[in-house]
């Protein structure tokens, strides 16, 4: 019997020929990522359990990324970044993307921004490897044909000391996305569609593997959006088989050797779902759950107070390019917040052009608020002074990934999750708007 891509990676990492879904196996970890919110706790667990003078298992396989609560005056938040820094120096951690000057992020060449996009951009996401991160959206890296999933501080502290973790082999649900993507649809629409079908717990304990001609045609940015949100369906990891698009992206960013794996033809899948993407329409997830799906055109009457374009899901370069395509030459009707995921994305806003205008010129001319410093910002609410945070019970259309009560701040705020196209179209009218109204 054949194995799925995920089973093959886990088997290799467990030093086994084969594994079966449901088995518990110890795996060797290729990369551990942690950030300013969970890093200090992870370090605390590591020291408590292995001793104050203990050394991490491998200084080259740990990546520390301050990204969540950076541009705030909250003292504890600032202290947490200091804890990361101290630990990085003490352990001589190879990859620590530090920020020391919070007043001007550009003065910190090492500072990246949102961890999941930074990992990809810096060549840490490699086919065939096993990555754990103290963040549920670590599944983002599955877009590169890697096994990547989120864990808590205690598990991460365990890995820091041992380089190993005991995991249950997940069964794989296959999602076959065929057909040509209509010009008004983005992969965000596809994943919101799928989560609407299977619910916020539809993939609990399982892998979601995406395949089909529509996936083959996607850029890495679009593939990441699919895998990023598998956690919103409860999935353990998402995965897309590596191909030439993957290899072009990865080999231009790292020299580390890796091995691509693919699902066997006779692999066993827990389930199969087929979609013809050419038949799908733009969708939103209404408050207060990512599976509360509705067609965008069914929500035309919803008046919004602000639009938010950002996060690891919807703050990548392609998201801003897509938003700019609709916004160029028009005026936004509601405050529109732009939060580039990383410093690289921020730079792209000032260098990439559409019809001779940079993205940032397009946004500013249309009345958007000036792009903020790259970080998680209001995607998860954060301290009260966080950029874009919903401090009032407002209605917001957002390209982020979660809309549970209070996620972006105020408990009564209403968050609609949408693609960058839908967010941009909505910004232009002040009501939830189908991008087809502007994309001809």
């Amino acid at each position: 019997m054949g194995m799925t891509l995920t089973e093959k990676i886990v088997a290799r990492a467990a030093g086994r020929q084969t594994v079966e879904p449901g088995e518990n196996v110890w795996v060797d970890v290729d990369l551990l990522m942690t950030h300013d919110v969970c890093g200090p706790g992870t370090i605390g667990v590591f020291k408590r359990e292995f001793g104050q003078d203990a050394k991490v298992w491998n200084r080259e396989k740990i990546v520390l990324i301050p990204d969540h609560y950076i541009f705030t005056n909250d003292e504890r938040a600032n202290r947490n970044v200091d804890i990361l820094r101290e630990f990085a120096h003490e352990q001589d951690i190879q990859y620590f993307y530090d920020i020391t000057d919070r007043a001007d992020f550009k003065a910190n060449p090492d500072y990246k921004g949102v961890c999941h996009i930074a990992l990809a951009q810096e060549g840490h996401t490699r086919p065939g490897e096993v990555m754990f991160g103290t963040d549920s959206h670590t599944c983002n890296a599955g877009a590169f044909g890697q096994f990547a999933t989120g864990i808590g501080n205690t598990d991460a502290g365990f890995i820091m000391g041992t380089g190993k973790l005991l995991i249950k082999v997940p069964a794989t649900m296959r999602f076959v996305l065929n057909g040509d993507m209509p010009s008004y649809l983005l992969s965000k629409d596809l994943i919101l569609h799928i989560i609407g079908d299977i619910s916020v717990s539809g993939a609990t304990y399982r892998t979601m593997e995406f395949t089909g001609t529509a996936v083959e045609q996607m850029t890495m940015d679009e593939r990441m959006t699919l895998c990023n949100m598998v956690i919103e369906a409860g999935g353990k990891n998402g995965v897309i088989a590596p191909d030439s698009t993957t290899l072009d992206y990865v080999t231009s960013r790292t020299k580390v050797p890796f091995e691509c794996v693919h699902s066997d033809d006779n692999a066993r899948f827990f389930s199969d779902r087929y979609y013809d993407v050419s038949q799908l329409e733009p969708v939103v997830a209404k408050p207060h759950s990512p599976d509360n799906r509705a067609l965008v055109r069914e929500c035309r009457d919803v008046k919004v107070d602000r639009v938010y374009i950002g996060s690891c899901t919807g703050g990548k370069t392609s998201d801003f390019v897509n938003a700019a395509r609709l916004i160029q030459g028009r005026q936004v009707k509601v405050p529109t917040y732009l939060v580039p995921a990383t410093q690289k994305v921020y730079e792209d806003l000032f260098t990439m052009k559409l019809n001779h205008q940079t993205l940032s010129e397009i946004f500013l001319a249309s009345g958007c608020i000036e792009p903020s410093a790259p970080s998680c910002a209001a995607c998860l609410g954060g301290p009260k002074d966080t950029f874009g945070r919903l401090n009032e019970p407002e209605v917001c259309v957002s390209t982020t990934n979660r809309n549970f009560p209070g996620r972006m701040g105020n408990k009564q705020a209403q968050v609609y999750l949408a693609s960058a196209y839908t967010a941009a179209a909505t910004a232009l009218t002040g009501f939830i708007t189908d991008p087809r109204d502007f994309l001809t």
Binding site: G41, G51, H68, I151, G152, D155, G382
Partner: protein, 187 residues
Amino acid sequence: MGITIRGKVFVVDDNIDTDQIIPAEYLTLVPSKVDEYEKLGSYAFIGLPDRYGSFISSGALKTEYPIIIAGENFGCGSSREHAPIALGASGVRVVVAQSYARIFFRNCVATGELYPWETEERLCDLFTTGQEVTLEGDRCVIVNHSLGREYPLRSLGEAGPVIDAGGIFAYARSTGMIPLRSPQSAG
């Protein structure tokens, strides 16, 4: 799995996510620091919609409800270990839900902070907050004294011994996966 616990229940329904258990603005608290652990506990469930009533009386650090009853997919959302820890630090010992989000369940087991029991029956529709129950781990049942009925729990399976041991480190030491603590590092 010898835990037996008697106390009042706090009842919530489906898809209680980690932002409702411990909102993001409190995540700057580091759970491995003793005073911040306590503080996390005092904010447990502060993100719940108001209709559930208050979980911790104002000014108190701990809850009077050691047992949570929930519906499907409890603990969905973020991987923040702050969530099971906030509940544990507030004085919760067990959660009884129809199902859990994977990472939350795993964090309960890894930390040994909470017992995440599962039930077939939808207890969140039958129980009301404040009712007195006894959970008997040995027999895998929860007895509701107000209703005068008992309900079966699903076995904790392989997670049980890990939580009993006190979490993944204690468990890994007991099985020889990692060395026993040397005396000087046991601080």
